[in-house]
């Protein structure tokens, strides 16, 4: 057990202090970090350059400076990112990759306040036709060229292929971890689960994979104990700040699976095989289903949530609704009745990265826990 706790504590430290993780990477390799702004970016290209791709997902912050630049109805995560931009939190980065799959991100990409150069790229949204992959591969090619110039290094196809393998190994490890964690909620509570997953945004991926694989093998040595609490699936953009997950944990819930953009949507699919590394990365986007930011008129998210709840024997689904995120808000009226029809109980909580108190969330989660106990 002590090794389990060691690994968890190591990953928790990384997840809670990205700045320190970046500094130690710099010290170790002599190379810096490149920000991958929420939500999906071709991290492998950065990794292939030998730089550390770092996920930028905001922080639990009071919004003050951002108010001068961003209207109040922009989503909570972008308010938080803007605040961090204004504070200079991203100024140690060599560059920032900026994707624009929603209207707020399009605008945010045009008002960057940090010092690091921004490389914007667009995901195609008519995703299921081959031409979409050609378009995205061209966008990634531009990203590569711009990165090469900024980082003053050559990023070869071979290096990207190698990085794709490193990333696919990590994706597999993460899927295994989520499955194993579901068997051991008494050890991997919602907060720990989140930290293990979040740490992958701030570590060189093969190192993260090695630690996670070791954690999995240690967990598998532990007996599977009956879980007396309730099991839930989380869906949404992210389940932060920490206080929000504490509420879920303190009400006796185990997170047995998730459909969060910050978590499983990142790794539920591998980068598929293909004719060139950039085309392969493009195809990953084509195959990403059930995300509110990836257009799909067949709206598969409801059925995917039903399948997840069935597979992991979940008692219910908690919708973590990012404040002012219209893509997520548009999905809800479609999947909510589907969950209802399938008899899957669910509740919605608001994700506000500025939140300091969580009484409202607690009331909802407490009520949900009582409902599930009936």
């Amino acid at each position: 057990m002590s090794r389990i706790h060691d690994i968890i504590s190591q990953l928790e430290q990384v997840a809670s202090d990205p700045q320190k993780a970046i500094e130690s990477y710099k010290k170790e390799t002599g190379k810096g970090a490149v920000g991958i702004l929420y939500v999906y970016g071709p991290e492998e290209i950065v990794h292939a350059a030998g730089y550390l791709p770092v996920g930028l997902w905001g922080a639990n912050k009071t919004i003050t400076q951002a108010r001068a630049h961003l209207l109040p109805f922009a989503c909570s995560i972008m308010q938080s990112v803007m605040e961090l931009e204004c504070e200079g939190a991203y100024d140690t980065l060599e560059a920032v990759l900026f994707c624009v799959p929603c209207d707020t991100l399009k605008c945010m990409s045009q008002m960057w306040k940090g010092k690091a150069p921004v490389i914007t790229f667009t995901h195609p949204q008519n995703r299921k036709i081959a031409a979409a992959n050609d378009f995205l591969a061209e966008e990634y090619s531009l990203v590569r060229t711009k990165l090469e110039k900024i980082l003053n290094t050559k990023i070869t196809d071979e290096a990207i292929e190698r990085s794709i393998e490193v990333y696919n190994d990590n994706r597999k490890a993460m899927r295994d971890f989520c499955d194993t964690a579901a068997d051991h909620p008494e050890i991997i509570d919602p907060t720990v689960r989140h930290a293990v997953i979040k740490a992958r945004f701030f570590m060189e991926k093969s190192k993260h994979t090695a630690l996670v694989n070791e954690l999995i093998s240690e967990l598998k040595k532990q007996p599977i104990k009956p879980w007396t609490g309730k099991k839930v699936v989380l869906t949404g953009i992210m389940a932060e700040p920490a206080g929000l997950l504490d509420v879920i944990k303190n009400n006796g819930f185990a997170v047995v699976a998730d459909d969060l953009a910050q978590e499983s949507r990142q790794f539920r699919n591998d980068v598929p095989a293909g004719k060139s590394p950039l085309y392969r990365l493009a195809r990953w986007w084509q195959e990403l289903d059930g995300c509110s930011l990836a257009t799909d008129p067949t709206k598969p998210r409801g059925q995917m949530l039903i399948n997840l709840a069935d597979k992991y024997d979940a008692d219910g689904v908690i919708v973590c609704m990012m404040k002012f995120c219209d893509p997520e808000e548009f999905d809800y009226p479609i999947y909510y009745p589907q969950l209802h029809q399938a008899g899957i109980r669910n509740t919605m909580i608001e994700v506000d990265l500025e939140a300091r108190t969580f009484e409202q969330v607690n009331t909802r989660i407490e009520t949900f826990a009582e409902l599930l106990s009936r």
């Binding site: 914007t120 667009t122 257009t295």
Partner: protein, 413 residues
Amino acid sequence: MNIEQASAKELLAHYQAKLDEEAREAKKNGKLVCWSASVAPPEMCVTMDIAMVYPETHAAGIGARKGATDMLEVAASKGYSIDNCSYARVNLGYMELLKQYAKTGVKPELLAKSPAADVPLPDLVITCNNICNTLLKWYENLAAELNIPCIVIDVPFNHDMPIPDYSKRYIVKQFEHAISQLEGITGKRFDYDKFLEVQKQTQRSVAQWKRIASFLQNEPSPLNGFDFFNYMALIVCARSRDYAEITFKKFADELEEKLQKGIYAFGDNEKSRVTWEGIAVWPYLGHTFKTLKNAGALMTGSAYPGMWNLEYTPGDLMSMAEAYTRIYINTCLENRGKELAAVAEQGKCDGLLLHNNRSCKLMSLLNFQTAELVSKKLQIPYAAFDGDQTDPSNFAPAQYDTRVQSLCEMMKK
């Protein structure tokens, strides 16, 4: 109606009603009806003789006739957040009522008493994200709720200008894909000769549309920009038909005549000229106009109607792709600033009035940044107000009046 003798205003009302009637007739006769995003290319569907209905225009009409609140409530009851676009919510509420009507045969009370124009449910939808990605989410939901095909024309955000060929090629492939989808849906071969004629018609409509806009250059101006907003219904709903061309030509001819006779929009009370940035506040169109009018501030610039300046070379799909993707809000800030400055310059504007529209993030979140660029370039002031295109609860007349007043004071200096 005698088309030759009718006024532009009469033609506008006539053709709007006729388009709705055609859609209802199509439905009755088993022909296809398509609901379309306002700047999605209609050329393919029109070639296929599909009747078109435009939910944004329809929702704006409901808003202007003070009927939005009921539809917004229906959408809320279906789980739509008040943060979502009010055009989408009004339309999804309306769709829900039509669905209930089709299912039960009993007209829901809210539908019966709604001032909404009577339009039929669609058999397919077509969307395009050149004016927002919200249109992707909204149309996904329409297609899912009604279990009908959805044609998507994705025009990627142009983070750098000029627009690269690979982006245009991707859009052309989607036109081709849409054509094959339509052939599958209709069971008919696509008529490329007719397609060319439809493209030519679209260009004739756009040319007359631009001709109307050109009157805004005159000082004083015979054209009030708010009237221009009213005519938008036809550039949206009928640009690939001659209805738009006929009406716009008549309107431009009338403006020409007014100009020659010295008849101006504000008579001799044109004290200043403003650019209106953003969509109109349809439920308060009268109020927003009158406040400006009382201050002698004439709206002679708006980039909004210019989104339909869809000029391209008929027969050249790359050129058509470029026309549909270069919409200013689908481009980088620098280009947005350039386009808005050109509008303000053309309208000889003394200031900018920015609509921070709760329903439209893409047209609002960069308002200040764009205005700063324009203000710096043209040395003109700007002011902003909070509003919404169709949700009346998000607009406060008093705040609007104060902001207009302060803009007018700044313009005087």
